[in-house]
C-alpha cells in the first residue's frame, strides 16, 4: 500500500488560509448544533468536526474549473470551496437566500459556480456522478479533474465498486476521497467491513490506493495534489483514504454512545486545527494570541452570518416549481 509522498513546501500564506478555513468550519458546525437546539435548523444535520483537514486540504489542491461531489456531511467541503457562511446558514434555515434556495437543506449545500456540483443524501450516489463529470472533461479534452468525497460506509455499496471499475477502464480524471471516520451511523467500521485500510479496495480495479493521515492537512493536501495532477495529466484515477474521525455523533439525534472509552480523546489529541496550529507556531506564524483572535473574529463572522441568514424570506411552493423542470 503506497503511503503519500512527502509534500513540497506550502507557502505560509496558504497555511494561514487553511487554518482560518478550518476554524471557520469548526465554528460553523458548532453554530449549526446551536441553531438545531433552538429549532432554527430542523430535520437532521451531519456535522464534520474533526474532519476539517480532509475538506480543506483536498479542496486546496483543486484548481479553477475542477469540480467535486460530496455528501450530506458536506458543510466542510462547501465552505472550503468558498461558500459564504451566510448562504450556507440560510440554506440550513430553509431560506430563499440559501445556496439551494432553502429547498435543499443541510444535506444539499450545492454551488455549481464554485465547482460544488452535488451534495447527496444517498450513500454512494455522488461517486458515479463525479465520474461522469470527469468523463465529460476527458471527452472534451479539457484539463479538468473531478473529485468525490464520501465516507467509509460508502465503500460497501455497489456503486462505489462500479465507479472504481469504470474509472479505471476509462482512465478518467477522477480522485475518489474516502473520509474514513471509522463509523457509518452507529456501526463501527469493523462490524460492517472486513478490512481496516479501505485504500486496498482500489487494487482489484488497477487503481492506485493511497492511505493518508487525514488529520494532517499538509499530508492531505500533498496526497490530493499528487492524485489530481496525475489525473490532469492523463494518468487516470486515484483512491485516497483519509484516516479521520468525527467528533460528534452521526447526526443530531445520535449521542454516539457506541464509542469505546478514550477514543474521542485520542483523536482530539490529534485535532487537525491544533496540529496545523502547532506547525504554524513552529514557524512563528501563529502565537496563542493570534489563534485566539482568529477564533474570535471567526466567531463574530459566524454569528453575524447566522443572524443575517435568519432574516431572509422563505419561498412559496409555487416559487419552487421552476426548480423541477428546466426550460
Amino acid at each position: 500500500m503506497p503511503q503519500a509522498a512527502v509534500p513540497s513546501r506550502i507557502p505560509d500564506q496558504e497555511l494561514m488560509r487553511w487554518y482560518r478555513k478550518m476554524v471557520e468550519i469548526r465554528l460553523f458546525e458548532e453554530k449549526v448544533q446551536e441553531l438545531f437546539m433552538t429549532g432554527q435548523v430542523q430535520g437532521t444535520t451531519h456535522l464534520c468536526q474533526g474532519q476539517e483537514a480532509v475538506s480543506v486540504g483536498a479542496i486546496g489542491a483543486m484548481r479553477r474549473g475542477d469540480v467535486q461531489t460530496n455528501t450530506y456531511r458536506g458543510h466542510g467541503e462547501a465552505l472550503a470551496l468558498g461558500m459564504e457562511p451566510e448562504v450556507a446558514f440560510a440554506e440550513l434555515m430553509g431560506r430563499s437566500t440559501g445556496c439551494s434556495k432553502g429547498v435543499g437543506g443541510s444535506m444539499h449545500l450545492i454551488d455549481f459556480s464554485k465547482g460544488n456540483i452535488g451534495a447527496n443524501a444517498i450513500v454512494g450516489a455522488g461517486i458515479p456522478i463525479a465520474l461522469g463529470a470527469a468523463m465529460s472533461f476527458k471527452l472534451r479534452k479539457e484539463p479538468r479533474v473531478a473529485l468525490s468525497f464520501f465516507g467509509d460506509g460508502a465503500t460497501n455499496i455497489g456503486t462505489f465498486h462500479e465507479s472504481l471499475n469504470m474509472a479505471s477502464i476509462w482512465q478518467a480524471p477522477l480522485v475518489m476521497i474516502i473520509a474514513n471516520n471509522l463509523y457509518a451511523e452507529y456501526s463501527p467500521l469493523r462490524d460492517t467491513t472486513p478490512i481496516d485500510d479501505l485504500a486496498r479496495r482500489a487494487d482489484p480495479h488497477q487503481i492506485p490506493g493511497v492511505i493518508v493521515d487525514g488529520q494532517d492537512i499538509v499530508a492531505v493536501h500533498g496526497a490530493t495534489t499528487e492524485a489530481i495532477e496525475r489525473a490532469r495529466s492523463g494518468g487516470g484515477p486515484t483512491l485516497l483514504e483519509m484516516k479521520t474521525y468525527r467528533y460528534r455523533g452521526h447526526s443530531r439525534s445520535d449521542p454516539a454512545k457506541y464509542r469505546p472509552d478514550g477514543e474521542v480523546e485520542r483523536w482530539r489529541a490529534r485535532d487537525p486545527i491544533a496540529l496545523l496550529g502547532e506547525q504554524l507556531a513552529g514557524r512563528a506564524l501563529l502565537s496563542p494570541a493570534d489563534a485566539a483572535q482568529i477564533n474570535q473574529e471567526t466567531q463574530a463572522a459566524i454569528d453575524g452570518a447566522a443572524a443575517r441568514a435568519a432574516t431572509a424570506p422563505v419561498l412559496t411552493l409555487e416559487e419552487t416549481a421552476p426548480y423541477v423542470y428546466a426550460d
Partner: protein
C-alpha cells in the same frame, strides 16, 4: 416499553395504550418469540435499535437474530430472499423508503417473481419494513412514502400502517404471510399513542378498515393521511357533513370490496394521499370504481402531492406541500356541496 421485556405467547386480548413505535416493537418481539425463523436484518437494527428506535431491545431478547448489515440495500435484500428460500422469515428494515430504489432489482425482479419463475417451487416470506413519509424536514431524498411504487407488481403485497393498533396487527400479518410484503411505517407517526389489542389476531391480508363511519362522503387514506382525514371529518361535522374514513391499509392488493361498499353508502369519494396522484392507489381506486360503473353523486376528488413539485427541506415548504386537514376537509366539503 416494559411490555417488551418478556414476550409471551399471545393468549387473551389485552388493550394497551402504546405508541406506534412501541406497537411495532411489540409485534416484532411477539413474532420473533413465536417463530425462531423470524429474524431482523438491516442497517443499525441491532445495538442501535434502528434509526427510529423501533427495534429497541430486540437484539438482547433474541441473540444472534438481529443482524446489522453494511450499507448495501440491494445486496441485503437478496440475502433476505435467499434466507426465505431456505425456510426463514426475514424482516428487512429500510431506513428510509427513498432507499427502496437502491434495491430496485431485488424488489422488482426477484422478490415478486422468484416463486413464479420456478413454477411455484418455493415461497418468499420476506417482510420489508420501510420508513416512509414527510413531516421530518428530511428533504427531497428522504421524504417519500413510496406506497404505490410497487403496487403494479404481481407477486408482491404492499401494506401501510396508520396507527399503533393497525401497525401491531398488520405487521404481525405481514411477517406471517408467505409472500413478500413491503410494509410502510410513517416516520411522522412513531410518537403517536393509541390502543393496541395485544394478542388479537393478525390483520387480514388485503383488507381495508372503516375507521370512522359517515354517510355523506367517503375519504380513503393511508399512513399519516388517515389521522388527517379523521381530523377533517371531525371538522366537517361542524358543517353538518358526515364523513366516513377508510384506512386503505394495502395498496396491493386493493380492497375494492370494502371501498366499493363504503362509497356505495355515500356516493362520494375523496382520496387523501401523501403521494402524487399519477400512478398511485388513489387513481387506481377511482378508475376501478368508474370502470365498474359506479354512479358518482359528485365527481371524486383527490388531495395529493402536486404532480410537478418535489418535496423541499424548508419546513414551511414541506408543510405547504403535504395534504393538510384543511385541504382534505375542503375537498370533502366540495364533494358534498359542489
Amino acid at each position: 416499553m416494559s411490555t417488551l421485556i418478556e414476550p409471551q405467547a399471545p393468549t387473551d386480548v389485552v388493550e394497551l395504550q402504546l405508541t406506534y413505535r412501541e406497537a411495532i416493537n411489540l409485534a416484532m418481539s411477539e413474532e420473533m418469540a413465536a417463530d425462531p425463523n423470524v429474524i431482523l436484518i438491516g442497517e443499525d437494527v441491532a445495538a442501535a435499535g434502528g434509526v427510529f428506535k423501533t427495534n429497541d431491545k430486540l437484539a438482547e431478547l433474541f441473540p444472534g437474530r438481529v443482524i446489522n448489515t453494511p450499507i448495501c440495500e440491494n445486496g441485503f435484500t437478496g440475502v433476505a430472499l435467499g434466507m426465505a428460500l431456505m425456510g426463514m422469515r426475514p424482516v428487512v428494515e429500510f431506513m428510509f423508503s427513498d432507499f427502496l430504489p437502491t434495491a430496485g432489482d431485488q424488489i422488482m425482479n426477484q422478490l415478486p417473481k422468484y416463486r413464479f419463475m420456478s413454477g411455484g417451487q418455493c415461497s418468499v416470506p420476506v417482510t420489508i419494513r420501510s420508513i416512509s413519509g414527510g413531516t421530518g424536514r428530511f428533504g427531497t431524498q428522504h421524504s417519500a412514502t413510496g406506497e404505490s411504487w410497487f403496487m403494479s407488481l404481481p407477486g408482491l403485497r404492499v401494506c401501510t400502517a396508520s396507527s399503533p393498533g393497525a401497525a401491531y396487527e398488520l405487521l404481525r400479518a405481514a411477517i406471517r404471510e408467505n409472500n413478500p410484503v413491503i410494509f410502510h411505517e410513517h416516520k411522522g407517526l412513531y410518537g403517536r399513542k393509541g390502543p393496541v389489542r395485544k394478542g388479537a389476531a393478525p390483520a387480514a391480508i388485503g383488507k381495508a378498515a372503516v375507521v370512522r363511519e359517515g354517510s355523506d362522503v367517503t375519504i380513503v387514506a393511508t399512513l399519516m393521511m388517515v389521522e388527517r382525514s379523521i381530523a377533517a371529518a371531525e371538522r366537517l361535522e361542524g358543517d353538518g357533513i358526515s364523513a366516513e374514513v377508510v384506512d386503505l391499509r394495502w395498496t396491493r392488493p386493493l380492497d375494492l370490496a370494502t371501498v366499493t361498499a363504503a362509497v356505495g353508502r355515500t356516493g362520494r369519494l375523496v382520496v387523501a394521499e401523501e403521494q402524487v396522484h399519477a400512478g398511485g392507489w388513489g387513481a387506481t381506486l377511482i378508475s376501478e370504481l368508474t370502470m365498474a360503473g359506479f354512479q358518482w353523486k359528485s365527481a371524486p376528488r383527490a388531495v395529493s402531492l402536486p404532480a410537478d413539485i418535489c418535496i423541499s427541506y424548508s419546513p414551511d415548504l414541506e408543510d405547504a406541500i403535504l395534504p393538510s386537514v384543511d385541504r382534505i376537509a375542503d375537498a370533502a366539503r366540495s364533494a358534498v356541496k359542489g
